[in-house]
């Protein structure tokens, strides 16, 4: 470069650099007067001409307490300081002041050049950053390459205590060595951002779960110098997750091990959950639960209906399900809609295998029957003894009459013999009908019709005995599968007992009421009298074979036969009685049992042994 060119460049610089540098530049003399300033300075601090530096910078009429210019005038050294002034709008501003001496050829400092750059924004940023750093609701720390914590925010310090000179692994995990899976290490290595899950230790020793993000912070000659780590405590989330998992495990194990078959279907009707008991009951061996179409073949049709109703549920005490092999299995079947926050998820069905119960029921019935046979034999012996007694007596009286030629006595004895012969005939008939009696044939029948027929048949006979026989039939009684002959026999027995009891009223006004009604899915027949009633002794024996309170008139088989027929209908008998007030005999027939007995009529039944 030639000298001319050099001097040309100098001139250009001297003229333009002053305006071009991105600083506020001003020149002051020894009197602190601003003698020159660039446009930046004027834009920032406003008018400077004729003003002293402290007037221009700080809008003050006094020199600064620690005047940097004075010192530089004295020692000729460059100074840098942070200053606070007033900008041209009268607002407080912050700036860095760079102050250097301008020396003339002799080395004397006549002027100082002052370069300022604004810090107001930077400081604001810094405050905001600090605030953010300190207050962000997660743990923030800066570590150096040795994993020493350089800085940590307030939340971190509050949780992990003083960080001074400590390593992050000591603080977070109470370790003595760096962790094996360290996100900061990765960031130091590749300068990238890394996210990982970490388990630390809370100050109380409980495990703390974190999601940690590590980012590089500043690069030096040897790569990343610092890493900022941000960690969010997700222990609470983890705890909830754990709770949820536990609840799930619990319910799953309850469902899996329940002895009740449990089956849940989705809205499309496909089975989603099927526990072991359900597998066994339905004999479903495949691991995959059955499809919607397959289920329709297996479960009762009612399970697939009644959708519109929100409170839908189902309880079939004696249903039949069809197992995979086609076998019909008796089961108690109940079902509910499955919902979550009002949204329908599907349906759940509960199946209770009734095979064993049915078996036990059969066995119990058999045992009862055998017990009844035993009782019958004992009762039969007694009845025969009584008959023998009558015959013996009749013969004795006839014998005496013959010996003495006493015709009246012969006639008396002969009558006794006749009566006992008739009794024998009646007893044998009654006994055969009890012991051998045909099995009930259940057909849909109007219960009121049977009750009406019995009342019609006995009304006149009762009237002749001074007893009023009344029918009180509930109007809403539905048809039921009944053996009408059997039920008629029952009501006939009860009505005839009732009339006998009502006849014994000393005051007259005897009354027998036959009622039908419906209660809790049971069909009820009731025969009530206002007769003599029964004391404890009689009540205890009333269903005993051959027990009779009617002297020679009764065979003692009426109530027994009645109870037998009722039991064959799956029902039971109740009785209530008070001496001199009357008795009530009640036949209760659960409708679902009537239905299932009628349905099972084709299946094998126990046939009574020949007596």
């Amino acid at each position: 470069m030639s000298e001319t060119a050099q001097s040309e460049l100098h001139n250009l610089l001297a003229r333009q650099l002053f305006e071009l540098v991105p600083f506020n530049v001003a020149v002051i003399d020894r009197e602190f007067r601003v003698v020159a300033a660039n446009r930046n300075f004027e834009d920032y601090f406003g008018e400077w001409r004729g003003r002293r530096c402290y007037e221009a910078y700080k809008n003050s009429d006094q020199r600064c307490a620690r005047c940097q210019a004075e010192a530089t005038f004295a020692d000729g050294r460059v100074r840098v300081s942070d200053e606070t002034g007033i900008d041209r709008h009268g607002r407080t501003c912050h700036y860095v002041l760079h102050l250097a001496p301008l020396q003339d050829a002799e080395g004397t400092v006549q002027y100082l050049i002052e370069m300022t750059s604004d810090l107001t924004e930077t400081l604001r940023w810094r405050r905001e950053y600090d605030l953010f750093f300190e207050r962000v609701p997660c743990y923030v720390l800066v570590v150096d390459r040795e994993y020493r914590v350089v800085r940590a925010n307030e939340k971190f310090r509050r949780t992990f205590g003083d960080t001074e000179g400590k390593h992050c692994y000591e603080l977070c995990k109470r370790r003595t060595k760096p962790c094996s899976q360290c996100p900061a290490a990765l960031t130091f290595e590749d300068g990238g951002e890394h996210v990982s899950n970490q388990v630390g230790v809370h100050q109380d020793g409980s495990p703390a779960h974190y999601v940690v993000t590590s980012s590089p912070l500043g690069r030096g000659g040897s790569g990343v110098a610092h890493v900022i780590e941000m960690a969010t405590d997700i222990s609470e989330v983890r705890r909830l997750e754990e709770q949820l998992r536990r609840a799930e495990d619990l319910y799953e194990s309850l469902v899996r091990n329940s002895a009740t078959g449990i089956l849940a279907v989705d809205r499309q009707g496909n089975a989603r959950i099927m526990n072991r008991a359900a597998h066994d009951l339905l004999n479903w061996r495949a691991k995959q639960p059955p499809s919607a179409a397959r289920l329709r073949e297996m479960l009762p049709p009612a399970f697939f209906g009644g959708d519109a109703d929100n409170g839908w549920s189902l309880d079939l005490p004696e249903a039949t399900v069809r197992a995979a092999g086609g076998e019909e299995v008796p089961a108690r079947f109940s079902a509910v809609n499955l919902k979550s926050r009002g949204k329908k998820l599907g349906r759940a069905a509960f199946l209770q295998d009734l095979r064993e119960i049915k078996q036990l029921e059969q066995e119990k019935l058999e045992a009862e029957r055998l017990g009844a046979v035993g009782q019958t034999v004992a009762g039969l012996a007694h009845t025969i003894k009584n008959l023998l007694m009558g015959l013996e007596g009749g013969m004795y009286i006839v014998d005496g009459g013959l010996r003495r030629g006493d015709a009246a006595r012969i006639a008396e004895g002969w009558q006794i013999l006749q009566r006992n012969f008739e009794k024998t005939t009646a007893m044998v008939k009654g006994f055969l009908s009890f012991a051998k009696g045909r099995l009930p044939e259940l057909r849909p029948t109007d219960p009121n019709a049977i009750a009406g027929a019995v009342v019609d048949l006995y009304r006149d006979a009762a009237g002749r005995q001074g007893v009023e026989l009344v029918l009180e039939a509930a109007p809403d009684i539905r048809e039921a599968p009944l053996d009408s002959d059997g039920i008629e026999t029952c009501l006939t027995n009860l009505v005839s007992n009732g009339i006998d009891a009502a006849m014994l009223r000393e005051l007259g006004g005897g009354r027998v009421v036959v009622r039908t009604r419906e209660a809790g899915n049971e069909l009820i027949f009731e025969v009530a009298d206002n007769g003599c009633g029964m004391d404890q002794e009689v009540k205890a024996r009333v269903f005993t074979t051959f027990f009779t309170t009617k002297g020679g008139k009764g065979t003692g088989l009426g109530l027994l036969t009645t109870r037998k027929i009722v039991q064959e209908h799956g029902g039971r008998m109740e009785m209530d009685s008070a001496v001199d007030r009357g008795s009530v005999f009640r036949i209760r027939l659960p409708r679902h049992r009537l239905e299932s007995i009628a349905a099972a009529a084709v299946q094998t039944r126990i046939t009574p042994e020949e007596p």
Binding site: Q375, V377, A378, G379, A381, H382, K385, N386, L388, M389, G390, L391, E392, G393, G394, Y396, I397, G400, R409, E412, I416, R419, N420, C532, E537, V538, R541, T544, F547, T549, K550, G551, G552
Partner: protein
């Protein structure tokens, strides 16, 4: 037996035929007889004219024989009257409890139905402590009949075995 020395027996049974029978047997043996068809009627009769002996059935409607016995025991003047129990229920569900209560609680004599007229009269005489009429049927065959009767009324397998044994010995 004549006039005042005749003993008076009350026969209580709900079966009219049994009442006729027992009345005839006792009258033929020279007893005075009255009858009652249940415990209540019997109690009235006993109170108005106490008998020398009561022949009592156990299971009856209204007022059973067992109840009647309990009431008699409570009444000092009536508790001494001997009672002969004539029942068909000595061993079955209906009569066992009452029967055991009555026979276990004191020396009693009982007969199980059906009763032979001679043994009935003999039992009445024995309870009254008087000489009975000669019992024509009390020969060997009648003893066998009695023991068969006793064995059969037990109605169990053992009882049948005993009955068979009795026959075989014969």
């Amino acid at each position: 037996m004549t006039g005042d020395s005749r003993k008076y027996v009350l026969v209580v049974d709900d079966e009219p035929d049994v009442r006729s029978y027992l009345r005839s047997a006792l009258e033929d043996a020279g007893f005075l007889v009255r009858t009652a068809c249940d415990g209540l009627e019997a109690l009235d009769s006993i109170r108005s004219n106490p008998p020398d002996l009561i022949s009592l059935d156990l299971v009856m409607p209204r007022h059973s024989g067992a109840k009647l016995c309990r009431e008699l025991r409570k009444d000092r003047s009536l508790s001494k009257i001997p009672v002969l129990i004539v029942t068909g229920h000595a061993r079955d569900e209906m009569g066992r409890t009452d029967f055991e209560e009555l026979t276990m609680s004191g020396p009693g004599v009982y007969l199980e139905k059906p009763v032979h007229p001679d043994s009935y009269v003999a039992a009445v005489c024995k309870l009254l402590g008087i000489e009975g009429p000669a019992v024509p049927g009390s020969d060997e065959s009648d003893d066998l009949r009695q023991s068969l009767d006793q064995a059969l009324s037990g109605a169990g397998r053992d009882a049948l075995q005993r009955a068979l044994d009795a026959l075989r010995k014969k």
